[in-house]
Every structure is written in C-alpha cells, then in structure tokens.
Symmetry: C2
Subunit: 340 residues, 2 copies
C-alpha cells in the first residue's frame, strides 16, 4: 500500500538530498585532488631563521606541492604524485633526504624510503642504501618489480642499479652544512662521552588523493646525524612511518623513529579510524599528542595525513614542522612554525 503522494514526494526529496553528497563523495574527480607534504619536524624557530632561509624553505615546499599537483590535476595517480614530490624534496639540499642528507658516524650517507598504494595495499621500501640518487623511486621499484616489500643495504643497491635506477656518488649527496653538523655532533660526543640526539628530525613525506579516489603515501630520509650500527628508523617500515589505505587514510611520519616503530603509529591512525570510529582529526591528535607523548615525552615528532574525503591533517608536538598542502585550485600553502 502506497503512502500519500505528499509523503512520497517529501521522501524523494529527502533521499535526493541524502544521495547528492554521497554520490559526490563516491565519484571523485580532478576537482577533489589534494596533496599534503612534510619536510621534517623539530626545533624550527623563527628566531633562528634568516629571512633568506625562511624564503628558501617556503619556496621549496611550494614547488614540491606544485610538482605533485601538476600530476594530480592532469588526472595522474596519487602514486606518481607522491613519488615526484618526494623526488623533488630528495633533490633539494634543504631537506634531509637524498641530496643534503645528514652524515652517519662513519662520514657516509645512508638512506631509507618507503611508498604505499592505498588501493592495492602494495608497498615497497629500501633501507640503509648509500648510492641511490632517489631512494623513493627504488622503493617504488621494489613494490612493482619484486615479490618483496623491503630490501636493505648493498644488495638493495645492486637490485636498483640492475633495474636502471640512477646511482650517485658521495660527492653528489655532500653539503657543507650537513658535514658541519656531523663535526659538531662528533665534538659534542668527545666532550660529553655520549651521542647527541639531534633536535631536528629530517624526513620528507607526501600523501595524495587522486581523481580516482586513490590514496598513496611516500616517505624518505637520510636518517640521524652521527648515527651508527646500521640503524634503521621508522621511514621504511610499513605501518610505522608510512601507511596508506583507500578505506581510511594515508599517513607519513617524522620524528624520533624508534617511537613511531614501537607505537606502529602510521597504521594506528588508520586503525583508530577503521576500528575506533575516530575521524581523521581525532585519530591524528590522539596519536601525536597522546600515544606519542606517552611513549617518549614531548617534542618527538609529527605526521601528515589525508583521508578518503580529502580532509588533511598536519600535526606535531615539536616547535615546528616544514609542511604544506595543495588542493584542486593549485594554490600551494606552506608553513614552518607552530604559530603563523
């Protein structure tokens, strides 16, 4: 038995209003693309910046954002966008990844990188590699061209070289500033008898949502100044420093890597959404200001994240984080400090 016409009409209107935003959310397009990036967190203070240096960072972040946006705006994949953006930051001497990486205690550079595809849950990573110009591209090759998820050391370099990945020598990665940082750390170690834990956590990362609604994440790092013993941090660990799942979100972390590993924090953001019914913002704040602080005190890092609806988060418990985002309008927004 049909209800009265008026009621049916009202119900149709109500259904239409319910369906319009639902349809819009399930059929994304180039108007919905978005990317969020970071270039490391830590003691980034306005008082310690020169106007030139500030400008250089803001411009590098903006150009990194435009690099990925060009791909997304043309209908390209989030995987291509995050890889290109992280490559741009690896090539910049300003960030601790690729060129401009910090030095280990042995005076070498050692890189870790990871990429994850939120559609397929495929992931690839490399760790403790020394001669790969763009570690993020080697990570992607591990994902696409092997059955493996993580390759380490010289063997990983041999794999990458055999597959046409560009190599670079130590002169390419060298920057005067990073070498001086190693000398300062060595000096401090001689004086204090213990190693210095730098207050700045150099990592770069990008998370993007493309016109198909696919999320991808990528992270790359040069590790810690004066690090030894083949230490690997959270960056190349799926679930620790990098994670992506179309059903929830994409995440890229920066900070004291060991805390992100022990807390499995990139995946925890996703699990809080999937299993804990948190919004992205609730999940991110709980991890950065709750779980991360509980494990390791304040000032230990931050993360960027982006959910399937294009909501972005850039959260940290340090004094600053190099970060930014770009939406479909192509206008980059870049930030350095806690307060604007």
């Amino acid at each position: 038995m049909l209800p009265p016409y008026g009621l049916r009409l009202a119900r149709s209107f109500a259904l239409a209003f319910l369906l319009v935003p639902t349809l819009a959310a399930t059929t994304p397009g180039v108007d919905d693309v978005v990317m969020v990036i970071h270039g490391g967190a830590g003691t980034i203070r306005k008082s310690e910046m020169t106007p030139e240096r500030e400008k250089a960072y803001l411009e590098a972040l903006a150009e990194a954002l435009r690099t990925g946006h060009r791909i997304l705006a043309a209908g390209g994949s989030s995987l291509d966008a995050v890889e290109a953006t992280v490559r741009y930051m690896e090539d910049s001497p300003l960030f601790n990844a690729g060129r401009g990486a910090v030095f280990t205690s042995a005076g070498t550079n050692e890189f870790d990188a990871c990429v994850m595809d939120g559609r397929t849950h495929q992931a690839g990573a490399v760790a403790a590699v020394r001669r790969i110009k763009n570690p993020v591209s080697a990570a992607r090759l591990v994902m696409t061209d092997t059955k493996h998820a993580l390759l380490v050391g010289e063997s990983a370099e041999q794999f990458a070289a055999a597959h046409g990945i560009e190599m670079a020598d130590s002169a390419y990665f060298y920057t005067k500033e990073r070498w001086r940082a190693l000398e300062r750390a060595r000096e401090k170690e001689r004086q204090d008898g213990q190693s210095d834990r730098a207050g700045k956590f150099g990592t770069v990362g990008a998370v993007a949502l493309d016109a198909n609604g696919d999320i991808a994440s990528a992270t790359s790092t040069g590790g810690l100044t004066n690090k030894r013993w083949g230490r690997v941090g959270d960056t190349p660990i799926i679930g620790a420093g990098t994670y992506a799942d179309n059903a929830t979100c994409g995440v890229s972390c920066t900070g004291v890597g060991e805390l992100f590993m022990r807390g499995v924090f990139a995946y925890r953001v996703s699990a809080l959404m999937e299993l804990g019914r948190h919004s992205l913002g609730e999940a991110v704040r709980r991890v950065v200001h709750g779980d991360l602080v509980a494990l390791g005190g304040g000032g230990s890092g931050g993360l960027i994240a982006l959910d399937k609806d294009g909501v972005i988060e850039m959260e940290f418990n340090t004094e600053g984080m190099y970060r930014g985002y770009i939406r479909a309008d192509g206008q980059p927004h870049a930030f350095l400090y806690r307060s604007p």
Copy 2:
C-alpha cells in the same frame, strides 16, 4: 543515612563476589604462567613425514617449551623465557633460524630477529645479519643497550660483537638438508626461469606471560631459500611479525612475510582487541582467515598469540604449523598438523 543492615550485608557480599575474580585476574603468580611457540607454518603433511622425523620435531618443540617454562615457573620474566626458548630453537638444526637456517641465492645465511616487551613497549631487532649465533639475543641487546629499535647488516654484527654477543661462522650454520633445498631451488629456477617460493615458511617464535602478568614476544628466522637482494621479511618488523602489549596480547607470526608487513598483522591482532573490542580468538581468526587470505590467498601462514588472561591461540591457514604450549603444570603440548 545508612541503608538497613540486611541490605548493607547483601551489598558487601555482592562486592566481595565482584572483587574476588577481579583481584585474581590482576594479581597473577607462577600458577598463571603460560608460553606458546611456533616453529614455522606451511605444507607440513603427515604423509611426507617419517616417524623418526615427526618424533624429532615433537621432542624439540617440547624441550623448547620446557626451556621457557623453567624460567617462568621460577618467577623469571617473560622476556627471559621467550629469549631462552627462541635460542633453543635457533640452536636446533630442525628449524629455519640460527643453526639450520636456509641459504640465500648467494649461498649465505641471513638472519632476522625481534623481541618486544609488552610492559614497556620497548623492542629491539636485527636484520640481514650473517655471523650472529643467536640473533634473538642480539635483538634483545639492541632493545636494552641502544636507543634504537632496528639495526641491519654488517654494522649490526659489529655492534653485537662489540657487546660480547657470540659469533659463528658459516660452517656452524650449515646443514646438508638446507643446502640441498638451495640446490633444488636453483635447479627449478634454471628450468622455469623464475624463482621458487617455498611452501614452508621457516620462522620460530615464542610468546609468554610471566608471574608478574608481563607479556613478551620474540621471533627469529633464516629467511627464504634462494632469497636475494637483501630481502627483509616481517620477522624483525615491530607490528608485522612481532608485537607485545600487556594491555592486550603478544603475537609472533610465520608465513609469507610481505603479507604480514603490508597488513601490519601482529599489531592488528592487538588493535582489534583494543579498538575493535574483539576477544583474542576473534581477532586472531579474523586476521588469519580473513585479512591474510584477502591480501594473499590461502596457505600463506599463521601466528601464535597469548592474551593477558592467559588465553592462547595457534591459528594458521596452511596445512600445518610446528607449534605448542605449556602452562603452569609444566606439561608441554606439541602439534604439527592441522588435524591431530
């Protein structure tokens, strides 16, 4: 104003009944200790076993269980128990960890191991090490004696050697059976032009609950036969192959490592309990027969787990899993196949 005496008495009784089981659950002792272990999952069929071989595996599993139990029964820590038990399995040529490990494509052995303390959420791991007699002990040293969580390659060996960890040469790790497995894999590769993915996933692991109510997990592996390129699997990855949290459970996995890494399955079991309100059994079955199958088809692995109440789970989607458990009575229970 006091309620009538009868009501107060009834309320006291009710409170007492509520408190008794609560107190019992929060003050564990040596009567509550329990340990669960695995020695790898895969195509373990009764039809392919000799009675002698079957007996050797059952006896090795029983002795591994007794090794950890002696520590737990004396009031020792779950960390000491899982380390000693995994060392026993590393020393046995029957399991793919330490002595008896499989060979890489280069004819070498490469080990990964991880240990995690559910009370402190501290963890330590080593990966791609070749000369360490008991990788699980090196992993524990990373946890206790460094600020790091994961050390890889030769540098990790140097760290371990400098801290008094026992080294071993390739002759120690060699077993005729594993070398033949490499030769078979190489032959298959020559014939098929592609690498063989072995049907047996050699890993050893232990999870224990001690008299203080502390949970610890440890996992150790010799990797995949004929593996190359410095591949690292889930074993040394916190959250992938190994996880422990006093508030939920301890987990140790075995199987196609890449699937456990991509699904962050050890941590997912814990997250399903914490955030998804699953029991341990529900969480374990959902991961092994749901999530793991969704990522990689059937026959891809299994895991052991133990919760804070001493509930144990030994679940796998393969034909068999070397496994067992022991409770306060000190009676080991060991199993090989799906059906008894």
